[in-house]
């Protein structure tokens, strides 16, 4: 009874992607503002969003471009900040069905962001190529368009508005993790451990010098490791 293509269609993916796309509009809008304020032309700001599709990495990237950092520093910074995507890709590779062959994996991998990953891994069944392409569409358009609008509006918008928009990304993460944490105590505990560790990395002397991206990896790996040791997932959870 197993079909090549998963049961989730392109349009179902597209629908799931709309809230992410709208959320991205506001976050990339503030990215566009920041990029132009750091001295980048509008088209470069948009090009960065269209080729990177990542929030924290891009915000760090424009800072490095502005101060003319060496390419190797740029590469290492992106590697550390974005290494979490490797964990997500690995996790998602286990949920991808046969329709996602090597070629389609090479293309859709570009769209694995925090939110797209969170939504895709929240689906009950395996996911196929149609669903992935659908899911990526609206966020990609939202991320690019928002950057363009923000870069153009850059100097018009008052600071109070862009400060308010900064919380958009984080509140989306909260909206993703809280409902599953309500239903599963192990998930809640894993989140709690990770948050406590990340707070320690932020404030404790000496270790707070560690880069943000690297700290996130250590927190996530430790908390997930403890979760796997003490609360192994039942086989039925697929």
């Amino acid at each position: 009874m197993k079909s090549e293509e998963s049961s989730y269609s392109y349009s179902e993916g597209f629908k799931d992607g709309i809230p992410i796309g709208l959320g991205y509009l506001s976050v990339s809008f503030s990215f566009g503002i920041m990029a132009v304020n750091s001295g980048l032309p509008v088209w470069i700001s948009v090009l960065i969003s269209m080729t990177n599709l990542t929030s924290a990495g891009q915000f760090a990237g424009i800072g490095l471009i502005a101060c003319g950092a060496p390419y190797i520093e740029m590469a290492l910074t992106q590697l550390i900040i974005n290494l979490r995507y490797a964990l997500m890709s690995l996790s998602l590779s286990q949920k991808a069905d046969k329709s996602l062959n090597i070629l389609h994996r090479m293309i859709t991998a570009f769209g694995i962001t925090d939110e797209i990953f969170a939504v895709a891994s929240g689906k009950a069944h395996d996911i196929g190529k149609s669903y992935m392409y659908g899911l990526i569409t609206a966020p990609y358009l939202g991320w690019s368009t928002g950057t363009l609008l923000g870069a153009i509006a850059g100097n018009i918008l008052p600071g109070s508005v862009s400060a308010a928009l900064n919380i958009a990304l984080y509140s989306m993460f909260i909206a993703i993790i809280i409902p599953p944490a309500k239903k599963s105590k192990p998930v809640l505990l894993v989140i709690a451990i990770s948050v406590v560790l990340s707070t320690i990395f932020e404030f404790a002397p000496y270790i707070n010098r560690l880069s943000n991206g690297f700290a996130i990896i250590i927190c996530a790996v430790t908390a997930s490791f403890l979760g796997a040791v003490f609360f192994p997932v039942k086989e039925a959870t697929e």
Binding site: Q78, L83, Y85, Q94, A118, V161, I167, V190, A228, V233
Partner: protein
């Protein structure tokens, strides 16, 4: 100069996402690794959000109020968009009030 920077950024970010997705085509059967990967998204998003969210706005007070609103609405299982836009609006109003009382 700038274009090469963008190229380096995009290339590194893409490879990080693409390699694990393409290389791990076989299903991992090990229960421990499966459990580990099950918890990864929650742990990553938790660590990314806290405590960074409290310094994401102009004042820690507006951030606390915004976070409280986001947590409350997320607990009521509202959509991503509702949670995010309500938090933004709350922060905007809170910061306007803070400015008002400072003068």
């Amino acid at each position: 100069m700038t274009l090469i920077h963008v190229l380096v950024m995009a290339g590194v970010t893409y490879l990080i996402r693409m390699l694990p997705f393409v290389l791990f085509k076989k299903k991992i059967e090990n229960r421990f690794i499966k459990s580990f990967l099950h918890y990864v998204p929650f742990a990553v998003l938790g660590a990314m959000t806290f405590p960074a969210i409290f310094s994401s706005t102009s004042s820690v007070y507006s951030a606390i109020i915004g976070t409280a609103v986001a947590v409350f609405l997320a607990f009521r299982e509202k959509s991503l968009l509702t949670v995010a836009s309500s938090a933004c609006l709350t922060v905007y109003i809170a910061e306007a009030l803070i400015k008002l009382f400072q003068h």
